[in-house]
Symmetry: D2
Subunit: 298 residues, 4 copies
């Protein structure tokens, strides 16, 4: 199948190779000339002009967008709306907020363009060798692009989830679960680290990943991480987050769905960004006020 | 009423003055000679020998113990069991674990000594000018010592709560609630501190303490704290804890009673004791493994 | 001072009486004729036409809006924008979202109308006899309406908090704290209820409200509640919520401010709305899958 | 290898078959005659007398105990201490509290008996076809019994973790993580269930289990569960727990290790055991007191 690919970052680049290996004819775009050159070197036609890419595609044109969620995706879709025509297909494979995807789907529909919101999981490794994708959009039209997903995903690794928005929604919730699972695993090692016993964490992660109830890809990655740095001495416990966990909690609040574990996973990430907290200062000051408990001076 | 008082720390010293002001005849004991001298200087007879204090008391002897919970209380009660006789009365006004109090009450009962577990709240200020006390022990015998509580507590500020253990139990739960209330207040100011507005926290605490739903002594203390250090710049947000909050959570777990707010208040205190966490390192390492997200090096 | 008052619900009605008692000349409006009649019976001029009310006011006209947040407030302000002129003053005393207030303030400023967002706490009792108010808006113009707040609030019970939005923001955070304090108190009684002791909760609330660290208006109300229904046998533990707690959590997420206690207080409210949960079903099903643990059939 | 096996419940029975299939010579014991008969029918020698089993074993005798944690394990070990001699080996493969295991190890050591605490994960399926085990005890002596673990566990599925107690400790923490992971997954489906989209949960679990970051055995089991009951309509969301999660939280409290996700997972299980809560009643009553918000009558 011939298709356009917008964005040659970590995910887009690996996806291009994955598609190439399955004999799809990718025409890729990135503003960054280095990325374009590198892509060409891998036998994938690439340009630094979106117009050029669109021109190269037969109708109905299929364009897979793989750029950061937010402004970059918004601008790309606005541009594509201008360049594409009725019957063309746009796939957003990034981590967009599902509400945006619903809006964008409706917007593109005005011009007869079909929009698919595709949540992608599995990291760079997945993009390269077999991803997991959750797809929302028009059911009929999906059959046109289904072969792509059959090829680039692992077996049983794609799901047509329903109407527009349902793909990114599933990915959002997936990430909420991911936050909770990661925090659960990490808390377990926190207890081990403070315990009276002297464990080899790499071995612990390995045994937990073989035959136990908690065996999982995340536990496999935990083993990998400990194999490189046995006590994680070299890094700080700063837990960044990229949005989907927050969206999951916001969605849960809107739905009045209690999700304490996902919410706390997120809040502990925020806590990890701080050296000290105003909350702590207030509590310390209050203890001093009523009990004369001494505070720790700066 | 003539009574013995063991322990002239922050709480015991203030309690002695409070009892003295209500015309009770206190004979105080502390191992620390300076504390004894200071007490004598306030017109309260004090000694550095427990035997001497006990000798001075008429039978039935009443001894109020106000020493740190744990070993100090245990040793004092063991000594008192040796020195006292049938019909004598021991009051533990410290922050003992209620299970210890039940055990101690049964132990002293073997020798016919009556034991009262008394939870005391209100801080040093309360001990000095009007405390809040929750009392467990023999109901009949309580009438003998009730006048003491009428005098040293604020109006409606004492409660005979029930059998032995029920006093310290109430104090334990009181402290659990206190942890939750303090954390709630502190989180509120955390939000204000990060907000787009520029609030004067002393004034905020004052207005919240006058007519609002959240008016409380803790909010009054918050106002006091901010009046001394408007942004709490001088202290670190290290939140110590002294045991009762932890006991409340442990009790809740034993009772299968969900207490998320009290539990989280405690856990955020523990979190505040750490500069960095192993939990954070594990999550950061995992994000790096699957997403290539860079970690923060030490 | 002569002013208009829009909305004669629980809060507005009591505020009208409070203003009247302080010799302010209130002209009130409500669509509900019964409410209008009742108000007139109390010696406060009231009409069921907003235009009529506005006409009666001298310039610069002052209008206090006390209607439910959301649509009702929105519609009232749109109407007022039409009826008022440059230099007039609108006060929103309801529980509006601060973002709406910032928007409305800017909108009314286009026509030269001054807008004050006023968070009000203290319940109906406060509205009647002495409220607590947090006020955002133009600092200069505030002096014009300050006498109103001096009269209707308890001593030290009003605060000019800063620019437009800062008043409702403070009220939002106040309610977040309130959620946390209420949940903390309630969890404490949950532990007592499941404990081995047999407490009289009214007496417990009373003693905790006299001299203890956790004395507060909420504890006073707890005593009142137990005085009417000693074990709260007559009601179900369904915890409704009205929005400000949710906004506080959403704001905290936007600010990356960890507020576990406020968040969990809210989530336990949502949990209380459910008889059973899908979360629980999934966990029960999983336990059955891996451990053969029997599930509870419906 | 010839060894005794005590306990033919779900786990012990499957373990016996697993050992048998690997050509170990198991002599099994259970008080229940039916279980004994069934075991004999599977070609595993079994008796309803422990003495008889012990007699059949060559010295040094090896006895694997697989009975419920707590009293049953305690009584078995007391009996075994009487029946066994210096150099013999006892393995506790149940879910015992690690503190008990440390105590029991020391107790058996008095008589020269070696004790191994073995945490076992993987459910019945694992016991039958390849378990995951975490082993604490004497390192030297472990080599004697290591062949058993090589045979009954999956590849890389056993770990000699360290001194006595460290095996059950690892299993305890494993279960704490398990609670958190299960709750995270379940909360995700809770959000889906309340969402605007209409998902097929079996398909969602399947796609999440193929190529995604959250692929795991628990997700596989989730798929199985939904394949049998697509909306889990037939069961109630009552989440029982069996102790290890609670121990993990208690241990975390003792270590001052913040584990909000594991703690909340446990508390939501407790919450699920209740139809209504006293916490909820108190909050509802308070809202009624200050705001006149109506309560839900029983």
């Amino acid at each position: 199948m011939k298709l356009g690919l917008v964005g040659l970052g970590k995910m887009g680049y690996n996806l291009a190779l994955n598609l190439r290996d399955h004999n799809h004819n990718v025409v890729a775009f990135d503003l960054n000339k280095e990325a374009v050159t590198k892509m060409n070197g891998e036998g994938v036609e690439a340009f630094d002009s979106l117009e050029q890419v669109i021109e190269k595609l037969p109708s109905p044109k299929i364009v897979w967008v793989m750029v950061p969620a937010g402004d970059a995706t918004e601008q790309t879709l606005v541009q594509l709306k201008g360049l594409l025509n009725e019957g063309d297909i746009v796939i957003d494979g990034g981590n967009s907020n599902y509400k945006e995807s619903v809006r964008r789907g409706n917007d593109l529909k005005e011009k007869g363009i079909f929009f698919f919101d595709v949540g992608t999981s599995g990291g760079m490794e997945g993009a390269r060798n077999g991803a997991c994708t959750m797809i929302g959009g028009d059911k009929e039209v999906f059959s046109t692009i289904e072969p792509l997903f059959q090829d680039i995903c692992v077996e049983n690794g794609y799901l047509y989830a329903g109407e527009c928005g349902s793909g990114h929604y599933l990915k959002m919730v997936h990430n909420g679960i991911e936050y909770g699972m990661m925090q659960a695993i990490a808390e377990g090692f926190e207890v081990l680290e403070k315990s009276q016993f002297d464990y080899d964490y790499e071995k612990v992660a390995r045994v937990w990943n073989n035959g136990s109830v908690i065996r999982s890809w995340l536990m496999e990655l935990t083993e990998n991480a400990f194999s490189k740095d046995p006590k994680l001495d070299e890094i700080r416990g700063v837990m960044q987050s990229s949005g989907e966990g927050k969206w999951t909690v916001e969605e849960a609040l809107d739905l009045q769905a209690p999700t304490p574990v996902i919410a706390l996973s997120l809040m502990m990430r925020y806590r990890s960004l701080e050296e000290d907290t105003f909350t702590g200062k207030v509590v310390a000051a209050l203890r001093n006020e009523f009990g004369g408990h001494s505070t720790v001076k700066k």
